[in-house]
């Protein structure tokens, strides 16, 4: 028996958002009396960080510290309409709606501050730390808190904004497939290194090197979490998971985690990531949403690496030890394809 090293490559692009049915999202922003801002949504945070990303987007657009913004979401009585968290649309669609709502709230805030400072609103800017000052004269300023107090208790104005983002329905041509399916694309390329045991057919992934282009890393920590977790999910899909092991036969389907195989947290392979950022013109601050796409290139890269290691083409997922071993036996033994 022997362990054979192999390496495989794959690269992909991934469509962000989906506008074949019209795909709106709304957001509302309002200030509390002391100059904090509430963002009201009905978008769902699945753990992907919806609340955090929209909070940062609102803070950036308003020009206030992120600590002064809170996101309240997922109550149909208070949150305005949103299609949902799927199709990599959350950051793009909801983010754009939040930008519009926050921009309108900012305009109201600047008007209120201008009244207090007795200047033209166009001459004002925010410092991102809770102050509004005259451009070129940072000493002449008012805090966001005092602006909110003045607006509400003196001027009788709200500091609030509404936002919606919609790309209208795209028709799809029946004969040519012409359409405008999405708004932008994220990109990725990965190199997977693994070992194949030619006696058992078992595959052990040893290392992943990758480059992911995400438009802009709106929150670099959350991007890192998404990419490491997503790549793990891609490897799991490639090597372990299925609800129908003998598809299309339905027998032997797993019904718990003892029989539905997934690698554990201890099986996360070392993954060296490079993040590239090419902002998309219609995306919030250019960010495209890395969540969905990051698993995809791992599947073919694993299959290609197995071929490189032992010469077995694995065109059916998942690539179980049984399939690898049968392939090796059919070829009369492992046939390593050389090194890259």
């Amino acid at each position: 028996m022997a362990l054979h090293k192999g390496r495989g490559f794959a690269c992909i692009n991934y469509p962000i958002g989906m506008n074949l049915g019209g795909d709106p999202s709304q957001a509302l922003v309002h200030s509390t009396p002391d100059g904090k801002f509430m963002v009201s949504l009905s978008a769902i945070d699945l753990g992907q960080g919806m609340k955090s990303v929209t909070r940062q987007i609102a803070a950036e657009t308003l020009g206030v510290p992120v600590a002064d913004v809170y996101v309240d979401t997922a109550d149909s009585d208070t949150g305005p309409h949103d299609m949902g968290s799927f199709a990599s649309r959350g950051t793009h669609r909801v983010g754009n709606a939040v930008i519009r709502a926050a921009a309108e709230a900012r305009a109201a805030m600047m008007e209120a501050a201008a009244d207090e400072l007795e200047v033209n609103p166009a001459d004002l800017d925010t410092d991102g730390e809770g102050n509004i000052h005259v451009k070129g004269a940072p000493g002449r300023s008012i805090t966001v808190a005092d602006t909110a107090i003045a607006a509400q208790f003196k001027q009788g104005k709200t500091l609030s904004g509404r936002g919606i983002f919609l790309i209208p329905t795209s028709d799809v041509d029946a004969d040519t497939g012409e359409m405008t399916p999405v708004s932008c694309f994220a990109h990725a390329a990965v190199v997977v290194d693994l070992e194949v045991d030619d006696e058992t057919g078992e595959v052990t992934v040893s290392q992943v090197n990758s480059a992911y282009e995400v438009g802009r890393a709106l929150n670099p920590k959350m991007v890192e979490q998404q990419l490491i977790g997503g790549a793990w999910m891609g490897i799991s899909h490639a090597l372990y998971e299925t609800t129908e092991p003998y598809y299309p036969d339905r027998s032997h389907g797993p019904d718990d985690y003892n029989s539905y195989l997934m690698p554990g947290a201890g099986d996360v392979v070392p993954h060296n990531i490079a993040v590239l950022e090419r902002p998309a013109e219609d995306a919030p601050f250019g960010g495209k949403g890395p969540g969905e796409m990051c698993a995809n290139p791992l599947l073919p890269a694993v299959a290609n690496a197995i071929y490189n290691a032992v010469g077995v083409r694995c065109d059916m997922l998942p690539i179980t030890p049984e399939k690898v071993l049968r392939g090796i036996q059919a070829n009369g033994g492992a046939q390593p394809k050389g090194t890259f």
Binding site: F9, C11, N13, I44, S52, R55, Q56, G63, V66, S76, D82, M83, G84, A113, D123, A137, T143, A145, D146, I149, G161, R162, I164, I167, P168, V172, A174, T176, G177, M179, T180, A189, V191, N209, A211, K221, M222, L227, P248, R250, G253, D256, Y260, V268, P270, H271, N272, A274, V275, L276, E277, R278, P279, E281, F285, G286, A295, M316, L317, F340
Partner: protein, 612 residues
């Protein structure tokens, strides 16, 4: 150990990296609740007197229901209500009815004919989950077992069992015309004839589970004002609310849905199976009702990522250029449509992958089989075909004896290239990703491949839409009468031609309602101001490449290609540019500033509190 680096050197001239909050590793606002176990999930809303729901499910792949006898279940201890199919006010729906896509094909509780193992027939509401399970076990359903079909290509045979009476051909109806979605760009047959090599492959993906930690579920309770509150694990709050309103035939204003913290979704929590039954149960009993999948249901009854089968045929030149690529794809959507029909359109728009190939054709089928309906999962519509494309690229590389990464860079799409769905590529970065990944892994590529860029070499001739060969094979119902081939163009009695350059205006975002809703373009994080971008060329660099020829040289020849109504043609960024204020002179005060300054020590807090 894993590592991450941010390659700020790449595309630096397109970004403004001086933003204050964007790009910061801000901690999640809800992380403390998560790590201390205090974040409330839907299942934490334990109402007093909460009732529990379990479903009686089909043990057969395919069977007609002769009768349902629930009399024994009615008498079981703790049973408060047995919901039968006829108790559902409007017992037929399709998820995408909300966007007017497809026909209603799925019952909330099936009373006529079950089409997969696990299909719900009767729902039992009892005081404990144990009692609900026991009562479900004594419901007697009399079945007439029918022949079933589990393979997508067998389901397309003329004599295959009919899975869904709504779609008697076992395929979703596209455009009320074909039994599949077509994509045609150029002439693949001509490309294959010119090619030095033909490379073919077949790829298959089995269903997989989204595997959330928290299984799908909902708790509904009557409120005092003739409304119902529903705590749910949904990924799409208004989707679930709208679906519930339709199935229960009640005004959406009577529904108050609360979601939020979800224990993992990955696409498996869009189907809205639990909210309607929980609300119906609550309505019929006047009590709070919980309906949640157990783990076995989550894995075998909850919709998986569906299986896909793809056939790819490439025509390749000796130098590695792919000159034609053809796909035949089958999505195994299971017994009912759910979202598969939509994923096929998304997948079709994705073909032929991130490559510029002058001749592309595909036929993709949404096929009904007697298995658990499929639904969304991370990468929906794309994961399976990306697996196929990228495995195939390695086969092509081997066929022409090329380094696999160099092959990708050679064929990669670039800014200004025309894509097969007739829209220009922009903002591309595939080549850079290939180069960076290769370098990180010490995978040597040629100096020529390392010198390529997404910004140059695209557009020009590559922006042209070629004359395209079309066919009308695969009309709805045709396959039921005669066995006909599934691959693009095969079995067509005649071929049509669409003139070169035929396309309609792209769809773009609706501009903001009011000028105040437009963020100052200088604050969007884009380095290139909107004004610098020319109208029809999105993001093409000022490199010495010919601008894409976007204007069709001939008028559109096809009636179905009429422009969609009221599609604005201007770029959203130009809308923003239109109201961009002129750069203001720095303000110079005429007298010393007096009021409104920060007052340390003065409380800013007057009366408000956060709502929660």
């Amino acid at each position: 150990m894993s590592s991450i680096e941010f390659r700020k050197d790449l595309f630096a001239d397109e970004r403004d990296d001086t933003l204050k909050e964007i790009g910061k590793p801000t901690i999640r606002q809800d992380i403390l609740g998560h790590v201390t176990g205090r974040s409330p999930y839907f299942d934490d809303h334990l109402f007093e007197g909460l009732l529990h729901m379990r479903c009686v499910r089909s043990p057969h792949h395919h069977a007609r229901i002769r009768s349902i006898d629930t009399s024994a279940a009615d008498r079981m201890p703790g049973v408060r209500r047995v919901i039968r199919p006829e108790d559902v006010p409007n017992n037929l729906n399709t998820l995408l009815a909300l966007i007017n896509f497809g026909k209603d094909d799925e019952a909330l509780l099936q009373g006529k004919k079950v089409a997969y193992v696990g299909e719900p027939i009767v729902a039992i509401i009892a005081e404990t989950e144990r009692q609900a399970r026991d009562a479900a076990a004594v419901v007697r359903v009399d079945y007439e077992v029918l022949p079933h079909v589990l393979d997508v290509e067998e389901a397309l045979e003329p004599n295959a069992p009919v899975v869904s009476e709504t779609y008697p051909n076992n395929t979703f109806d596209y455009h009320e015309l074909y039994d599949h979605q077509k994509l045609r760009f150029g002439d693949v047959e001509k490309g294959f004839a010119e090619a030095d090599h033909i490379v073919e492959g077949r790829y298959q993906m089995s269903p997989i589970e989204q595997a959330p930690t928290e299984t799908c579920g909902a708790i509904a309770a009557p409120e005092t004002n003739d409304r119902f509150v529903c705590y749910t694990s949904t990924q799409a709050l208004f989707f679930s609310l709208g679906t519930t309103a339709k199935l229960l035939d009640m005004p959406s204003s009577q529904l108050h849905f609360i979601g939020g913290t979800v224990g993992g979704g990955f696409g498996g929590k869009v189907d809205s199976l639990h909210e309607p039954l929980a609300v119906l149960g609550s309505k019929l009993t006047g009590a709070p009702v919980k309906y949640i999948f157990d783990r076995a249901e989550e894995m075998q009854v909850g919709a998986p990522r569906g299986a896909e089968r793809w056939y790819i045929k490439d025509g390749v030149m000796n130098d590695g250029r792919i000159v034609a690529r053809q796909f035949t794809g089958f999505f195994d959507c299971g017994a009912y449509t759910r979202l598969s029909s939509y994923a096929i359109i998304k997948g079709t728009g994705h073909l032929p992958g991130p490559y510029s190939i002058p001749n592309v054709a595909s036929n993709v089928y949404c096929v009904y089989t007697n298995r658990t309906p499929a639904t969304a999962m991370r990468g929906f519509g794309i994961t399976g075909v990306d697996f196929s494309i990228e495995c195939h690229m390695d086969k092509v590389a081997e066929a022409v004896g090329m380094n696999p990464i160099e092959l990708r860079i050679l064929n990669a799409y670039r800014d200004g290239d025309m894509k097969a769905h007739r829209r220009l590529a922009k903002n591309t970065a595939l080549i850079e990703c290939c180069q960076v990944a290769a370098s990180k892994a010490d995978w040597a590529i040629s100096a020529q491949a390392a010198a390529q860029t997404s910004l140059q070499g695209g557009g020009g001739e590559r922006a042209a839409i070629p004359e395209t060969v079309t066919d009308q094979a695969g009309k709805i119902g045709e396959r039921r009468r005669n066995k006909i081939p599934t691959a693009p163009g095969e079995g067509a009695s005649a071929k049509g031609r669409v003139a070169a350059g035929t396309s309609v205006a792209p769809i773009i975002a609706v501009p903001p309602q009011r000028d105040d809703m437009i963020i100052d373009p200088a604050r969007t994080g884009h380095r290139k101001s909107a004004a610098e971008q020319s109208p029809a060329v999105p993001s093409v660099h000022s490199a010495p490449i010919a601008p894409p020829r976007y204007t069709p040289p001939t008028p559109p020849t096809q009636a179905p290609m009429a422009p969609p109504p009221a599609a604005p043609v201007a770029q959203p960024q130009q809308q923003a540019a239109a109201v961009q204020p002129a750069a203001a002179e720095p303000y110079k005060p005429t007298e010393p500033f007096q009021k409104g300054i920060k007052r340390p020590g003065v409380s800013r807090f007057i009366s408000g509190t956060r709502r929660r």
